[in-house]
């Protein structure tokens, strides 16, 4: 060790950053209830689960009805069209974004369901997005169908008139 080492240490700038790259890989389990929903999507169907106590239809079926505590698992097929209950225009880019911004993310109450699902609406300008829009699923081609919500590419306007606020006010 050289004689001037302590002085050098004393005058050196503090270490403010130690890069520490962590990569962890997980194999996530969908579980029984979500699996039933995903399998149906591969078949161009949207199947939720009804709670035997409160009779609400959840998408996907759930291991526990959030208000009743019993599995919401009685299979119910719902429509692939519904009403936009609320929406958000995303204008900032981020790593996992599906499209370049701006784009419109929506909550859609599918006909026959009691719980909105989240998806994207394409084919309208962001400034035209509004609550109550009626939208319809645009599925991927047959050979791209799989047990994933990506089986629906996006939703687009169905051409129906907007739904009245009262019809979805309880699902905001």
């Amino acid at each position: 060790m050289s004689d001037d080492a302590p002085d050098a240490a004393a005058t050196a700038a503090p270490v403010t950053m130690v890069p520490s790259h962590v990569r962890l890989t997980y194999t996530v389990t969908a579980g029984r209830h979500l699996s039933s929903y995903l399998r149906a999507l591969a078949d161009r169907r949207i199947v939720g689960g009804r709670c035997p106590v409160c009779t609400k239809v959840y998408l996907p079926a759930r291991g526990a009805c959030p208000t009743c505590g019993v599995p919401a698992d009685q299979p119910v097929e719902v429509a692939d069209r519904g009403t936009v209950t609320t929406f958000c225009v995303i204008r900032i880019p981020f790593e996992a974004a599906p499209f370049p911004p701006p784009y419109v993310a929506v909550a859609i109450l599918l006909d026959g369901a009691d719980m909105p699902i989240f998806h994207l609406v394409r084919g309208i300008a962001p400034e035209e997005a509004r609550m109550g829009m009626r939208v319809q699923a645009r599925w991927v081609a047959d050979d791209q169908l799989g047990p994933t919500l990506a089986s629906i590419r996006w939703f687009e306007l169905s051409g129906e008139p907007d739904a009245a606020y009262e019809t979805y006010a309880n699902h905001l």
Binding site: V18, S20, V22, L24, T25, Y26, T27, V28, T29, A30, G31, R32, H33, L34, R62, G63, A64, C65, P66, T67, C68, G69, V70, P71
Partner: protein, 372 residues
């Protein structure tokens, strides 16, 4: 202190990889079973708390989805610790000491199978000084085991005897994961995993969940015939830096035990549930708790079904099933369940967290007698 008892315990059988259940599906059955055992409607629970860990599940806020399992509607008074469920039970016990609520529901879940557990546990170490070394939990435990062997207070045969006894006990526990009987000589013939530890000295990787119900005073007496009263409970932590500790001793266990009424002069226990994920850690814990570490039998280890000492880990312990964040609470639940079933009057239960027994909780449970 107010009288508070464990009045129900439910668990899922631990498995190496549960491909059927996500978090809610793990928790919903144990919560439902524990409340049924307690004869308690979920709407009458005064306080709910859970223990789980985002890093095990690989996503932030993983406890949020699991909360559906207790159907928190109407809204409930609730909390969550990023710790083993045993510490959730401690917070619930403290909450009941305030006197304004009488019952608490505690649940814990963990799926160690989702990630590469050794890599995940590296993230638990000091990020500046230890994590960059990449030392995994088994290697750190092996360091500790080596120190214990070098101290002359244990040898590899005694480690194997702990593992063999765990497997004998686990054979009778349908919720245990590692249940095949193996004899000491057989185990010693196995190769080292990380010397001086062999595979049987290390815990299995497990998925699981459990739930416990606590009740205070007369409410507990009204709900179940034989509550397992918490006579004392305490927990202590030690420095994280391994170099600051004597790894062959567990002073935090000894301190927690003294404060929980399980000190050197405490009355004997009928059974003991120790959360010792590694075989040598059981010996360190027994030493810290003043439990016999050598009962004079041929293998030097009390096998739990003879002699005057307490039965140690009649469930098989963490060597038989180790769902992380669950295994500590399971020790308290197993001990209480045995007392409630009439298998003894007085039990000690222990939980641990962190590398090399860094943090330890000790709980003394008793029944008043009464028909199971």
């Amino acid at each position: 202190m107010r009288d508070v008892a464990i009045i129900a315990f439910a668990q899922l059988p631990a498995v190496r990889r549960d491909t059927e259940r996500e978090e809610v599906e793990l928790v919903q059955p144990v919560v439902t079973a524990a409340l049924a055992q307690a004869g308690l409607d979920r709407r009458d629970v005064g306080f709910t708390i859970s223990g789980s860990c985002d890093y095990l599940l690989g996503r932030p806020f993983s406890f949020v989805a699991a909360l559906d399992a207790v159907a928190p509607w109407p809204p409930i008074a609730e909390s969550h610790v990023e710790m083993d469920g045993a510490w959730a039970l401690y917070e619930a016990w403290a909450r009941l000491q305030c006197g304004d609520v009488d019952t608490a529901l505690i649940y814990a879940y963990g799926k160690s199978s989702l990630g590469e557990l050794p890599d995940v546990l590296v993230q638990q170490l000091d990020p500046y000084y230890l994590a960059p070394l990449g030392a995994d939990a088994i290697s750190l435990a092996a360091l500790q085991a080596r120190a214990l062997l070098d101290s002359g207070r244990a040898d590899e045969r005694r480690l194997a005897a702990v593992a063999a006894r765990s497997r004998r006990a686990a054979a009778a526990n349908p919720c245990a994961q590692r249940r095949s009987r193996r004899e000491v000589d057989e185990l010693l013939a196995e190769p080292y995993l990380v010397a001086p530890l062999r595979k049987h000295d290390c815990p299995p990787i497990s998925d699981g969940a459990c739930a416990v119900v606590l009740a205070a005073g007369d409410v507990a007496r009204r709900l179940v015939p034989r509550p397992a009263w918490i006579r004392g409970i305490d927990h202590r932590i030690e420095p994280h830096q391994l170099g600051h500790r004597d790894l062959t001793r567990s002073p935090s266990t000894a301190e927690a035990a003294a404060r929980a009424g399980a000190g050197p002069d405490a009355a004997p226990f009928d059974l003991v549930e120790l959360h010792a994920p590694f075989s040598h850690q059981e010996l360190i814990l027994r030493d810290a708790l003043g439990l016999p570490t050598d009962d004079g039998t041929a293998d030097g280890i009390d096998d739990g079904d003879g002699g005057d000492g307490p039965a140690i880990n009649p469930s098989g312990g963490a060597l038989a099933a180790n769902p992380m964040m669950v295994a500590g609470l399971t020790r308290l639940g197993e001990a209480a369940a045995r007392l409630m079933a009439g298998d003894g009057r007085r039990a000690l239960a222990h939980a641990t967290s962190g590398p090399c027994l860094q943090q330890n909780l000790v709980c003394v449970l008793e029944t008043d007698g009464g028909a199971p």
